[in-house]
């Protein structure tokens, strides 16, 4: 093999690797909450209480963070796109901690009923009265 062939193969190999890495990064999948360690473990009622007493403080702690929440299922809804949300009790007349499930649950709506105790993990999106947790997975 001539020096030129070696150089050329090395160059092509590097190029292929670069392209592969680019596609891997560009198409990297969403993180699965089930595989990660939650930054906070908290009851739904406690999370809601903290948000309603001081939203800015609660945001500083939880916004964008992966948290594990336990609570009582008050209501469940599945929209026309097949995305299911669990409304956990917040001990409030109007509001809930709403856990929007990850799209992996589109194929299979979880078998839960009102009053069930559930434990979910997801990313806290903040509060507008209700506290919204996004891309949740059911742990228990």
């Amino acid at each position: 093999m001539s020096k030129r062939t070696i150089l050329l193969s090395a160059f092509l190999l590097a190029l292929a690797a670069a392209v592969a890495i680019y596609f891997l990064v560009y198409n990297k999948p969403h993180k699965d909450a089930a595989d990660l360690k939650p930054e906070h473990v908290i009851e739904a009622t406690e999370l809601y209480a903290q948000y309603s007493s001081n939203e800015a403080d609660a945001d500083a702690l939880y916004l964008g963070k992966m948290i594990e929440i336990s609570g009582t299922l008050e209501k469940m809804s599945t929209d026309e796109a097949g995305v299911t949300s669990l409304f956990l009790s917040a001990d409030s007349e109007m509001d809930n901690v709403i856990c929007e499930l990850d799209e992996i649950y589109k194929k299979e709506v979880p078998e839960l009923k009102e009053g069930d105790s559930v434990k979910v993990r997801g990313w806290c999106s903040g509060s507008m009265g209700d506290v919204i947790i996004s891309r949740c997975v059911i742990i228990d």
Partner: protein, 184 residues
Amino acid sequence: MKNLIVVLLIAFIAPTLSAQSKYFTKEGKISFSSDAPMEKIEAHNRKANSVLDPASGKMEWSVLVKAFQFDKALMQEHFNENYMESDKFPKAVFKGVVQQHDKIDWTKDGAHNVKVKGTLEIHGVTKDVVADGKITIKGGSISAQSDLTIAVSDYEIKIPAVVKDNIAKTVKIDIKADYAPLVK
């Protein structure tokens, strides 16, 4: 006789009362898409709050920026961290009034093309907007839908020069709400 009067009174007052109450949803849908040369960017938010007051025509929307879901994790990251800075500005809010709302009979089934005028706050910047939309009244519930196009630069969202050509300068926003009467 007295009972009859009460019944008649209720029969006449009840529909007007329901027209006076506010309507709301916790599961309004907001999606946006932007056709870039490289690839279509699309995201959905299924947890928008909206309140509609037929009596005054007032309509309000608020949405959590972090609750927008993208197919690609990287896009969602860039959207939150680089463009919307959602740690600093977690919400987007629209406050407006349905124009000529008094011409709509909110107690009767029907579909109405409307203009909604108001202010839209995104990324900490508030701008006046007018949106064309449709309000549908059916069996005591109200639904609303609209689409509008906004310019990214209006909201001081900076697009780095490197990716400038890959990201469209305008974004189309689709909005949909199925309202239920607000029972207090």
